[in-house]
């Protein structure tokens, strides 16, 4: 999702017999839905997997500001501009909550940033697609934030306390994101033919990448079993994807837009939609770094980090000087 392919231990979960007494006690707490807190004992694999997952999630929030930030100066009205600024500001905030949650696991914020900039840590593939028209801002709010909410709602139940609490806060703030997106789409779809066409074009381009946000299909998801046993990831990729399609298809219908999937059809027997196969080649290419905007996004993050160095250093130097002065006065 925002963390699409989180490597866990790469092994199947241990059985109770294979566990050490500590691991068994830990698993019992997780199974009883007791939250794990920072200073408690936890298996090394649990800690590392969580750092990867929360890190990817945080990086996604931060990189996710770029495609939307692209339209702040060109929003069609002052209202839309104020809304978009507020939304992008929220994404920055969400990134910060998540970095802090990861820091409770013993990694520093700078280390995580370095991992992002070196390419060692990933962020969601969705943010490697360009925002070509204003309708893309509508589509992102509706689809991308819609998919994010789907994922984050279940993550509120994650076994790790600080992550779960960050999710509660994020979910509360996220609802406005999806609604403002759908609101943009409704406006465009109620407009002239050209505006409606623009909305359809945005849906065409964002639909499949949005479905890819949920990560590989369960049968190819080697790390899921362990993450689910640890309740780091309460629901599987395919379950969430299905829920998302079921929720979104009627919304597209209401707009009078057509989802670009010829196979998409309501299946009365399963009480859900059947839908087509994702182009997994594209998914892995984008994840590997060969999407339409990967280079641009990373270049922007590197530039922000390098250009901000003097400022970060300057504030630290000032704080140090102030402290020294205060101590001298005492």
């Amino acid at each position: 999702m925002y963390a699409q392919m989180v490597k866990s231990t790469g092994e199947r979960p241990k059985t109770l017999d294979e566990m050490s007494p500590e691991e068994r006690a830990f698993q019992a707490r997780v199974d009883a839905d007791i939250k794990i807190e920072p200073k408690e004992w936890m298996p090394e694999g649990y800690r590392k997997t969580l750092i990867r997952q929360i890190g990817q999630h945080a990086h996604s929030e931060i990189v996710g500001q770029l495609p939307e930030g692209n339209w702040i100066t060109r929003a069609p009205t002052l209202d839309r501009k104020a809304i978009l600024i507020a939304k992008v500001q929220d994404e920055a905030g969400h990134g910060l909550y998540l970095y802090c949650a990861a820091e409770t696991l013993g990694i520093s914020r700078d280390e995580m940033t370095e991992q992002l900039l070196s390419g060692k840590a990933k962020y969601s593939s969705i943010f490697n697609y360009p925002t070509l028209t204003w309708a893309d801002i509508g589509a992102i709010g509706w689809l991308v934030d819609g998919a994010a909410i789907m994922n984050q709602v279940q993550l509120q139940k994650c076994s790790y306390g600080p992550y779960s609490r960050a999710m509660v806060r994020i979910c509360k703030e996220e609802s406005f994101h999806q609604r403002q997106g759908y609101d943009i789409m409704m406006k465009l779809c109620a407009g002239n033919a050209e505006q409606k066409e623009m909305a359809q074009d945005a849906l065409n381009r964002w639909w499949w990448p949005s479905l890819m946000m949920f990560g590989p299909s369960d049968k190819d998801s080697v790390h899921s079993a362990q993450s689910m046993a640890w309740k780091i990831k309460p629901m599987s990729n395919d379950e969430l994807r299905q829920k998302f399609v079921d929720q979104t298809a009627p919304q597209a219908e209401y707009l009078g837009l057509k989802i670009p999937d010829p196979v998409l059809k309501w299946n009365e027997a399963k009480k859900g939609y059947d839908f087509g196969e994702i182009d997994w080649n594209e998914f892995y290419e984008v994840l590997k770094g060969d999407g339409p905007c990967n280079k641009e996004r990373m270049a922007a993050r590197r530039k922000a980090w390098t250009d901000g160095q003097w400022f970060r250093d300057g504030l630290m130097a000032h704080a140090r000087k102030k402290r020294a002065r205060k101590m001298a006065a005492e």
Partner: protein, 94 residues
């Protein structure tokens, strides 16, 4: 006066999964004693599952007079609330 115990602020986690909440303060010579005192002063009726103590002098706080400049600007930004947008019932919960 030199030997006056410093003031500590006490935070209690009421239930598993919830964040620690500020419940009050107490005096203690060091962190370990502050936790022991906090247990006696603030959790006699099974109010918590975890205690944090922080030296009051280590807490930086906003001044009451800053309330308006800090918080008033967000009053005008009603578009940050989901209810600002009219979403038709037909499309389901959003």
């Amino acid at each position: 006066m030199k030997n006056e115990w410093p003031l500590w602020e006490v935070f209690i986690r009421g239930q598993h999964g919830l964040a620690h909440r500020h419940v009050g303060s107490l005096h203690a010579p060091d962190a370990e004693m502050a936790i022991r005192h906090a247990r006696d002063v603030y959790t006699r009726r099974n109010e918590g599952v975890s205690i944090w103590v922080v030296k009051a002098s280590d807490i930086a706080a906003s001044a009451p007079g800053e309330k308006e400049p800090l918080f008033d600007p967000s009053n005008a930004k009603i578009y940050r609330h989901p209810t600002f947008y009219d979403i038709p019932d037909e499309v389901g919960h959003m």
